[in-house]
């Protein structure tokens, strides 16, 4: 009996932990001006080894207030890849937008490991004022197809979207963006930095925040620790959407940038506690072993 318990101990511990999975809470957001934004779905490992990332296009506010898509004058999606890190420029391809019952999607597929930037642009006229919506996001896809990649589409020449108001980030790419790691948000108006400008930060689990860019036009955003995200495994992610708005050029421009965030991998590692537990356990085990060893001695009759 004794041994059976010892043998199954790891199994019992492991199984009992399954029960401890936490429920995720969700934060509330204040309804603001409607905007266009991109939502990451779970990336799919294809059987051939390539990676597909589905992105859903949303209109409304984030994340609850889903609005029916109005009749946009135009709605187009492009992706840039490979992107040169220094210039954030690259070959531009148009991406098909697939309507499904749940909404509009676009799928980015990568055979190799490549960085991508995706733009979705929509235009509409509201009360006679032209509105330009721009949703953007950047990511890296880790495809691992063994054969050589052949271009499947031909690139588009020139920049097809109106980038008058664009949110850029520094660094432009991070293969594993995580909470607790600062990122610079830099809104550009006609490629000029916007000083003291308001940026709205929508987060799946946090309350709506508004922040102002510095004199240099930079907002350094430190994604806060997120208990709900922490509870969900290290590949789980949430989305944070940065929104800026600007009136000018005879119209209104609303741009967003979606950032995918994982939980922080190392911030919660406590080496001191670990070594303490290790040392205490060592002492405990040594005590038990040395105590038990006396029994091996033969008694003198």
């Amino acid at each position: 009996m004794k041994f059976i318990r010892i043998q199954y101990l790891p199994l019992m511990i492991v199984l009992s932990l399954v029960v401890l999975m936490k429920v995720e809470p969700s934060g509330a957001a204040v309804v603001q001006q409607d905007f266009l934004w991109l939502e990451y779905q779970d990336a799919i490992k294809e059987k051939d080894g390539s990676m597909t990332l589905p992105l859903q296009i949303h209109y409304g506010t984030f994340p609850q207030e889903e609005k029916k898509f109005p009749d946009f004058l135009s709605l187009r999606a492009f992706y840039v890849s490979p992107v040169k890190e220094e210039t954030a420029q690259g070959l531009i391809y148009e991406s098909a937008i697939t309507p499904k019952t749940e909404g509009l999607f676009l799928n980015i597929n990568s055979l190799k490991s490549r960085p991508f930037t995706v733009f979705v642009e929509a235009k509409i006229s509201q009360n006679g004022t032209p509105h330009t919506y721009l949703a953007k996001t950047s990511f890296v896809l880790f495809g691992s197809v063994l054969k050589e990649e052949v271009p499947r589409y031909s690139p588009v020449s020139g920049y097809p979207v109106d980038r008058s108001l664009e949110i850029t980030t520094r660094p432009p790419f991070h293969y594993w963006p995580q909470t607790g790691q600062p990122v610079d948000i830099i809104p550009l108006w006609h490629d000029q930095r916007l000083q003291q400008d308001t940026v709205h930060i929508f987060d799946e689990h946090q309350a709506l925040e508004s922040a102002t860019t510095s004199r240099e036009g930079v907002l350094t955003y430190l994604p806060p620790d997120d208990a709900a995200l922490n509870a969900r495994g290290d590949t789980a992610f949430k989305q944070t959407v940065f929104v800026v708005q600007k009136d000018g050029d005879g119209g209104r421009y609303i741009s967003t940038c979606t950032m995918l965030l994982h939980r922080n991998r190392f911030n919660k590692h406590n080496t001191v506690m670990g070594i303490f537990i290790f040392g205490a356990a060592m002492l405990g085990c040594l005590g038990v072993v040395l105590g038990r060893r006396r029994r091996f001695r033969f008694e003198s009759f």
Binding site: K47, A280, V289
Partner: protein, 314 residues
């Protein structure tokens, strides 16, 4: 040179290569049948157990992907592992495994200090034998549950999370970060705390018992599935064994099968690490031999015992 010295040299060299070889650009693959711990930044190859549990080449794979390029890749990894095991058999454990070498070094210190080795009764030792198979099954099933049954992803690489090599081996490159307790959530906390407790327990065990960890090693269990197919075989001449039990007495894994065997020639058993101490200490000529594809590489002899058995311990 005695077999013992040869083995010590090979162990030392493979320890250096597997622990620091990565610094010199050496990449030996992700399917090594020994504890070349991937958590050592400068390691030159990876323990197959990580690949086996992982989501790229291993068990953390959705059912739908089993028959696909991904499934093939996992199979390829296993084929590479099998190939290495068939060629070198269990010398991976007794001659190459850096974690085994570490245990042998600790035992060497204990021997120098003349501290008595702990003894397990035969029944207790036999009761421990299935543990490694249970661990092997668990480390395959848990990732499958993660991929298919919604088990929490923080249980990924369950064995690596608890393996004492994970905190201990990186120490050799000055890295203590795997001693950390991960307070991210309850699961990571429990797993990392358990890891520390197990590491401490195993380390103390290793101080008092030869190859203490190997008793529980699921990789040994996996390798021993190939015992019959290995090109290297330990053979016993059952007609010349007089039952002196030197082999049993000297065995770091407390194997009595070699001593007991009276029916068949191959005597590699599930716990054997092919350290060949038994063949080295067998005083009967040509009674225990190591054969590579039926060609004897080493045979026991009275002369060898007389020449080496005492000297190697000084």
């Amino acid at each position: 040179m005695s077999l013992f010295n040869l083995r010590s040299w090979i162990q030392g060299i493979s320890f250096l290569i597997l622990t620091y070889g990565g610094r010199f650009g050496l990449r030996l693959g992700h399917f090594l049948p020994c504890f070349a711990c991937p958590y050592v930044g400068s390691c030159s190859g990876h323990c197959y157990l990580m690949a086996l549990q992982g989501s790229i080449w291993g068990a953390q794979i959705p059912w739908a992907h089993l028959i696909s390029v991904r499934g093939l890749r996992a199979l390829g990894m296993f084929a590479g592992f099998s190939f290495l095991v068939i060629i070198f058999s269990k010398t991976w454990c007794g001659w190459i495994c850096p974690f085994g070498t570490l245990q042998d070094w600790i035992s060497w210190v204990r021997r120098k200090l003349a501290v008595r080795e702990a003894e397990f009764s035969e029944s207790f030792r036999n009761a421990l034998k299935p543990v490694k198979y249970i661990l092997l099954v668990l480390l395959i099933i848990i990732p499958m549950f993660i991929a298919n049954a919604g088990l929490h992803p923080d249980f990924k690489l369950p064995f690596c999370q608890l393996c004492p090599a994970k905190p201990l081996m990186p120490v050799f490159e000055g890295n203590f970060q795997h001693f950390a307790i991960d307070t991210t959530n309850t699961i990571t906390f429990v797993m990392s705390a358990l890891s520390m407790l197990l590491t401490a327990g195993f380390l103390v065990g290793m101080m008092f018992k030869d190859r203490f960890f190997c008793i529980f090693c699921p990789l040994l269990a996996l390798i021993s599935l190939f015992d019959r197919f290995g090109l290297l075989q330990l053979k016993k001449n059952i007609r010349s064994c007089t039952g002196c039990a030197h082999c049993e007495q000297i065995c770091p894994m407390d194997i009595s099968d070699v001593h007991r065997e009276e029916q068949k020639e191959p005597v590699i058993s599930q716990d054997c690490t092919l350290c060949l101490k038994c063949a080295e200490h067998c005083p009967e000529d040509k009674t225990l031999s190591l054969e590579f594809m039926k060609k004897p590489l080493f045979s026991s002899s009275r002369k060898y015992v007389a020449r080496h058995s005492i000297k190697t311990k000084r």
